[in-house]
Each structure stands twice: as C-alpha cells, then as structure tokens.
Symmetry: none
Subunit: 224 residues, 2 copies
C-alpha cells in the first residue's frame, strides 16, 4: 500500500507518515506542492493525501493536473480553512474526499481506507518471491507456510526489497524509502536490518533470499 503525503507542516507530515506506516503502508512525503506533483506523476501510489495550501503548486492544482493527465489515484484533500467554498472546489477539481484541519487521525485513516476500497483497482494483494510472501495490507510475512513475525522496520525494509525483486537496491535507496527522507544517520542501519531479516526469513529455512551485491547494495532473489 503506497501512499503519498503532500504536506508542508513537517510535524503533521511526520505524524501521518508514522501512523500510516504503523499500519503497513509505505509512505512517501513531499514538503512542497511542486515536489508532490512530480512524485505523484512518477510513482504509482494507492492514494494521495494533499494539503490545499502548499508552497509552490497548491493542492487544487496538483489535483487538476493529475486528473487531466488521466491519473485517477484517490486523492484526499486537507485544509486549514473550513469554508464550504474550498470543499466544493476540491471536489470540482477531482479530489475524492476532503478533510478539515484539525482532524483526528482515526478519521483520516477511516476515510482513506474507504477511498482506497472504492478505488480498489487491480492490485496484487501480496508480494511474492518464491515461497516468501509479504502482505502489506495485513502486514504479514510467510515463508513455506510458516508465519514470520517482523517488527515494523523489518517489515518495511523487506517490503521495499520485495517491491523491487531482482533489482539491485542500494542502501541509500532503502534509506530514502523506508526511513524519513531526511534521515541523517549511517547507512549501516540498513546492514543491521538486513541481518535481522536474514535471521528471520533466510536462516531458519536454509535459503538466501537477500543477496549482497558488494559495492552496490542488496538484491532480493526472484525465486525467493
């Protein structure tokens, strides 16, 4: 479940990211409308949460632009104002739903779920590579019929690798997608998580799904 949050208030953006990720979503954050629009154009998200008031391109423009391009990803609009006008305009330009700040996280999640259910397109429910499967929706991981317990971070790292089976993924990329985009720490953290994952998904099964490509990163073997 990939979600794009376009929101310039970092506190809120981070809160949303954390919250949604805790439920198994893979969340990217854009801090400006310009960035957000580009990211939405570039990646296939399952939903977009966009503030209306944004630096650069505003939420309405993002919405209109995406729709005119034939991009029908569900969009949930946020705004600080609570005028009827905004709401009408939001729906006019093609947003699917509308939420007035301040809102409770629970409400946002509920609406978002509804949106995505409605927009339930052909989306492979589980990621699979050989006998290894990962279900972002239920946040479950199984291998050869055995359920594997993963922590939130572990799951996110594995999910990202699974989304790119076969490709070499650099530690930097993992960092960019799984950690906050402004994570300052050492890329060693990725090595550490790869070790945790290997201990859980590879070692017990005597397999080696996560390959190391020295100097480049890691690659999840297509066959698991």
């Amino acid at each position: 479940m990939r979600i794009l949050v376009i929101e310039d208030e970092r506190l809120l953006a981070t809160a949303l990211k954390r919250g949604l990720e805790a439920e198994g979503a893979s969340v990217d954050v854009a801090l400006t409308g310009t960035d957000g629009l580009w990211m939405a154009q570039e990646n296939p998200y399952d939903a977009v949460v966009a503030d209306i008031m944004l630096p650069g391109v505003n939420g309405f423009q993002i919405c209109r632009e995406l729709r005119t391009e034939g991009n029908w990803t569900p969009i949930l609009m946020l705004t600080a104002k609570d005028g009827e006008l905004d709401e009408a305009e939001a729906l006019d330009v093609g947003a699917d739903d509308y939420l007035t700040k301040p809102f409770s996280y629970v409400v946002l999640r509920a609406r978002l779920r509804a949106l995505m259910r409605r927009g339930a397109r052909e989306r492979p429910p589980v990621l699979a590579a050989g006998d290894l499967t990962v279900d972002p929706a239920t946040r479950r991981c199984r291998r050869a019929g055995n359920e594997i317990e993963l922590t939130a971070r572990e799951f996110s790292v594995l999910e990202y690798l699974m989304r790119r089976v076969g490709e070499v993924v650099s530690k930097r990329e993992v960092l960019d997608h799984v950690w906050d985009y402004d994570f300052e720490g050492d890329a060693n953290i990725v090595e550490v998580y790869v070790r945790y994952l290997r201990n859980k998904v590879d070692r017990p099964f005597g397999r080696n799904a996560i390959e190391t490509v020295r100097g480049s990163g890691y690659r999840l073997a297509p066959g698991g």
Copy 2:
C-alpha cells in the same frame, strides 16, 4: 544512461554520483562551471544536473551556451537560493526544471527520470554486443546465457566500454569516467581491469570482445 553533474560542493556531488550510479546511471562530475560546460559540449549526456552558483561559468551561462549551440540535453538546475527570480531565469535560459536546495534525493531522482522520459529518447534498458549483455539496473552481466559475476569496478569498466561499442576508448577516458575524477594513479590500473574482464567475459567463451588498439586504447567489438 549518462548523466553529468556540475556541482562544486564535493559532498553533494559525491552523494549524487553515488546515488545515481547505484541506479545504473553512468555519472560524470564537474566541479567547476568551466569544466562542466566543456564536458557537456564534448559528451552526449542524457541529462545534466547543474548548480546555478558555480566557480567559473555559472549555471545560467552553461545553460544558455548549450542551448545556443543547439544542444538540447535536458538540464535540471540546482540552487541554494529559493527566489522566484532564479526559477524564472533558469527556465528563461533554457533549463528544463529547477530544484531548490536542500532537496531530497528521491525528488531529484523523480524529476530527473521525468525529464529524461520527456526527452523520450527510448534507451534500451540493457546494453548488448553480440551475445554479451550488461544490465545497469540489476547490475548483471551475461554471455551466451551464462551469468557472469563481476566486481563493482569490473562492472563499471565493462559498462563504459559497452556504452561505446565499436569506438576506440583510451585508458584516460576510462579512468575519467569510471574512477573518481581526481584519481591520481597510473593508467596501468585500466590494463589490470581489462585483464580481469577478459578472464571473465572472454577467456571462458573463447572469444575476444575487448580488443586492444595499440597506442590508442581498447575497443569493444560490436559483435561481442
């Protein structure tokens, strides 16, 4: 995918180089505007990322100069300032897009991809010469159906030769493109790597893809 990064902050330049290379791009770095302009004029890049504030020739000038020469390589401008003025001017002189520092790597990559896609120069994802193929995305190399394991350096050298199949490539050029731009050592290192490559991609197959052109350099035979 060849990308030129013109940026005087070495930290940033290195980060970009690493990141983009990790995704299979072949990245050259210029630390001054003068060098950058020259390199952009000399080599066919798929995209140029240029800082506006540079020692020597600045980003605007590079852009204008290339455009007036009829060079329409996509250019992405970077700047520390976030004035509207800069943005307008960047687009005026012919840049294709504009990014304000600090930016997240994810965003840069997304924009860059979009730019190159817009440039609609469909580039085959894998490089091939006869039965020898190299895939920068997965960092895999195969010959006659056999997977060949290459180290990071070996891969980069081979990739560079493959990008210029049929052409004679001097050791100096290989050094400049594959090693850090400030590599001080002996060009003999290239000979050493050519040997490693021959041992892996030629010898086992009884072929001779990498030809020596005495006095000039090496040439990758178009037929593999």
